[in-house]
């Protein structure tokens, strides 16, 4: 009932090719965005903004990057955190070495550096695929972190290898409060999500999906494998790089190799598996699940007054159990669950 499309006629090609074909979806998205941009910064507490929403958006962006590579182009990767690290360190270095460089330009350049590293480490994808490729992208993870700890020039010669991120100033306007940082991150993430959505609907996205489904067949119909796969690596790494830069500048405030560990790569992989592989919405849902659930469980355990050691262990157990439960109920992730829910709502109250 809520998704009844009766009366929504599409009379032009433009109307037919909209991102969200159902009017209710469009209204919902607009309402969410309005709420996020115009209401949340003013009513949400600094805690909610700086400790929950900012990391959620940043991880969603990283998950989006991985989803482009794994979900749409079918190339497994375990190097997400490494691409994020490249983005963060490159952005830091650009600002450090070229004072006066606009920070947004530094983010873009950081993303481009990550894209170049992505292309280099994506080269093996032309010969190997599946789990073997996952193992070779694992090399990115180790190589990048190794470089960052071994080459002092990359960390500005700091003795301990930990450097503090510069302040975010755009056109003389300092983004130093949780509200301002949140708005900046939100705008960047929303823009890039829109770009990604359009990319996967265009011929680029279709060729990625063709490669994902069967690369031999894709080659037969004239898709250039090398270009397509490397483009997927480049775009995906660009997204991860920007996410890494935001993670360092807008969230942690420090840039250190250890923050971009293999553990983070795995967490982003879990985000897209739980959220939904091959879905833009899934990246956001997955990030929300992985970021918010432990915090929520922690608060609940606290509210119940459990001893902290029990609460901490219980949190991990419940979190693990929920992941298993969700994947058994819906192996295609939360995005698919939402899609099924939408279909049911369309038919409601009739079963079919």
């Amino acid at each position: 009932m809520f998704y009844r499309e009766a009366g929504q006629f599409k009379t032009t090609y433009e109307a037919d090719g909209q991102i969200l074909p159902i009017r209710q979806d469009r209204i919902a998205l607009l309402a969410t965005l309005t709420l996020a941009v115009l209401v949340l910064p003013f009513v949400a507490t600094p805690y909610l903004l700086s400790a929950i929403l900012i990391p959620f958006l940043i991880f969603a962006l990283a998950a989006l990057g991985l989803n482009i590579l794994t979900g749409y182009a079918g190339q497994l990767s375990l190097g997400t955190a490494a691409f994020m690290a490249v983005g963060a360190f490159a952005s830091w270095n650009f600002v450090y070495r070229f004072p006066g460089l606009p920070i947004l330009v530094a983010f873009v350049l950081g993303g481009l550096c990550a894209a170049m590293v992505g292309i280099a480490f994506g080269l093996p994808s032309l010969r190997i695929r599946g789990f073997y490729l996952a193992a070779s992208t694992l090399a990115t993870q180790f190589f990048v972190v190794w470089c960052l700890t071994k080459i002092p020039a990359l960390t500005g010669g700091s003795a301990s290898g930990v450097i503090t991120a510069q302040k975010i100033v755009i056109l003389g306007y300092a983004f130093d409060t949780p509200q301002r940082k949140y708005v900046l991150v939100l705008l960047i993430v929303a823009l890039m999500a829109l770009l990604a959505k359009n990319m996967v609907r265009s011929n680029v996205g279709r060729s990625w999906m063709a490669v994902r489904d069967m690369d031999v067949a894709a080659e037969v119909i004239g898709i250039r494998l090398m270009r397509t796969k490397l483009l997927a690596f480049a775009v995906s790494s660009f997204y991860c790089g920007v996410a890494g830069a935001l993670y360092a500048f807008a969230y942690l405030g420090t840039v250190e190799p250890e923050a971009y560990s293999l553990d983070l790569s795995f967490r982003i992989l879990f985000m897209i598996i739980i959220g939904g592989v091959g879905s833009i919405l899934g990246s956001f849902l997955g990030a929300a699940f992985i970021v918010l659930l432990p915090v929520g469980l922690n608060i609940v355990a606290h509210g119940l007054g459990l001893p902290t050691s029990v609460a901490s262990n219980l949190e991990l157990m419940v979190f693990g159990a929920l992941i298993i439960f969700f994947l058994i109920v819906e192996p295609h992730g939360l995005a698919r669950l939402w899609q099924i829910g939408k279909e049911k709502l369309r038919l409601w109250p009739f079963p079919h």
Binding site: S50, A51, A159, G161, T164, L252, G253, H302, S312
Partner: protein, 429 residues
């Protein structure tokens, strides 16, 4: 919580008497994950001491309250915890994350929020300069002071000079392991010993190659700057390679029961640094009696009272409470102090032998006297040895390394930081 206390609480809250004198401390702790054993012992010690103080009427009548938040030692979750705790219960007035990563993550936020942060025995050594880092306190001893003291101890052991000797710095290849390098390199040049730097990739569960290298280098001493699983692996690998454990000197994060017990006999004779003197103290007996006697102890295993991490936690608790006392002396007794006032208290600590005696902790930790120039307050450490069953202090006196050198490095590094951040170094009132 019983029904009676609930009702009482509700009545108090309703009658507007919420201004129950309370001093809130934020504890972003970790009790799961790779460093859980350290976290449980350390935070257990802090909480045990707070419970003891509260059982005896609090700090001039002000109860110490605290709240924990699980960080799993993960900087990202640590920042979340800090943001959550800082406004909890009317606002945190102190934070101790016991993690370099988390400390770095919140370093820029604490001056804005006006919440002092302590870093007991870790973190940025240059934060000892209170003119640049007014809200950061690497109390008792920083890594640089420790490294200087290590070299002093080794020199004393070799008849006062290390000239021509060879020392291996076997370190955790991270910010933590690299932190002492400026001090060790400066001292190597100054005193004429050879420094061989050998990194171990974290977490350090495989060290065969490194110890082969050490055997070939035939050093006079090995400094083990390790952490977590790396320590027991190092001790066991040293045994397998026939390297005498007496020649290994661990950093204080490599000197707890958790590091030596898993190594079994291999650890016998191993030495490590500490800023506590192992043993028993009246304050620990009080904790056993008053806190554990009332069933309010924080450690699941009573036998761990007085273990290295627990004692470190108790020491932290003592320092926090003494800072509250100092702040109350200035800003009014019997009232909770704000974060800014507590910062003053931490900057004006003076825990001499007499004060230690009153607490029941004579010689449990070095005397601490802080100031704006010196947020560390001591820099003195001890060397302890594992006798197969427990840690024993083998240096009767507190060792202090080359303070002038450390001070120079602190000034250089903090000035550079201030320039990067465009800060004007100054003492706060």
């Amino acid at each position: 919580m019983t029904f009676k206390s609930l009702v009482l609480g509700a009545v108090l809250a309703a009658s507007g008497a919420t201004a129950l004198a309370q001093q809130f401390v934020a504890l972003p702790s970790y009790r799961v994950g790779p460093y859980a054993s350290g976290g449980a012992g350390f935070y257990g010690g802090i909480i045990d001491y707070f419970n003891l103080v509260n059982a005896n009427g609090g700090v001039n009548g002000v109860k110490v309250t605290w709240e924990e938040c699980e960080t799993e030692y993960n900087p990202s979750r640590g920042v979340e915890c800090y943001e959550r705790l800082k406004t909890s219960q009317g606002g945190a007035t102190l934070v101790e994350p016991l993690s370099t990563g988390i400390a770095y993550g919140i370093l820029d936020r604490i001056p804005q929020d006006k919440i002092p942060m302590t870093m007991l025995g870790y973190g940025r050594s240059d934060a000892a300069n209170g003119k640049v880092f007014p809200y950061v306190f690497p109390l008792i001893s920083s890594y640089w002071s420790q490294a200087a003291a290590m070299v002093k101890y080794l020199a004393d052991k070799n008849g006062g000079s290390l000239k021509g000797k060879k020392i291996v710095h076997l370190y955790h290849d991270s910010a933590f392991g690299k932190e002492p390098l400026p001090v060790l390199e400066a001292l190597a040049q100054q005193q004429g010993f050879e420094l061989v730097k050998i990194p171990v990739a974290p977490p350090g569960s495989e060290q065969q190659a490194q110890w082969l290298q050490i055997r070939q280098a035939r050093p006079d001493h090995v400094i083990l700057w390790g952490w977590g699983v790396m320590n027991s692996v190092a001790i066991k690998t040293a045994q397998r390679n026939g390297f005498p454990r007496e020649k290994i000197l661990g950093v204080w994060w490599a000197g707890s029961e958790e590091d030596t017990v898993p190594s079994g006999d291999a650890a016998k004779g191993y030495t490590a640094m500490s800023f506590n003197t192992p043993g028993n103290y009246p304050v620990l007996d009080n904790i056993r009696q008053t806190v554990y006697g009332a069933g309010k102890g924080n450690l699941a295993d009573k036998g761990r009272i007085g273990s290295v991490y627990h004692m470190r936690g108790v020491t932290a608790g003592i320092l926090f409470v003494e800072a509250m006392r100092a702040a109350q002396e200035k800003f009014g007794k019997g009232k909770p102090v704000t974060g800014e006032q507590l910062r003053w208290g931490l900057e004006n600590l003076n825990i001499d032998a007499a004060r230690q005696k009153a607490i029941g902790a004579v010689n449990m930790f070095p005397t601490v006297k802080t100031s704006c120039e010196d947020h560390e307050g001591s820099g003195a450490v001890k060397v302890q040895q594992w006798d197969g069953k427990k840690w024993v202090a083998i240096t009767p006196n507190w060792i202090v390394g080359d303070r002038a050198l450390v001070k120079r490095l602190v000034d250089e590094s903090s000035t550079k930081y201030a320039a990067e951040k465009k800060l004007t170094p100054a003492c706060l009132k």
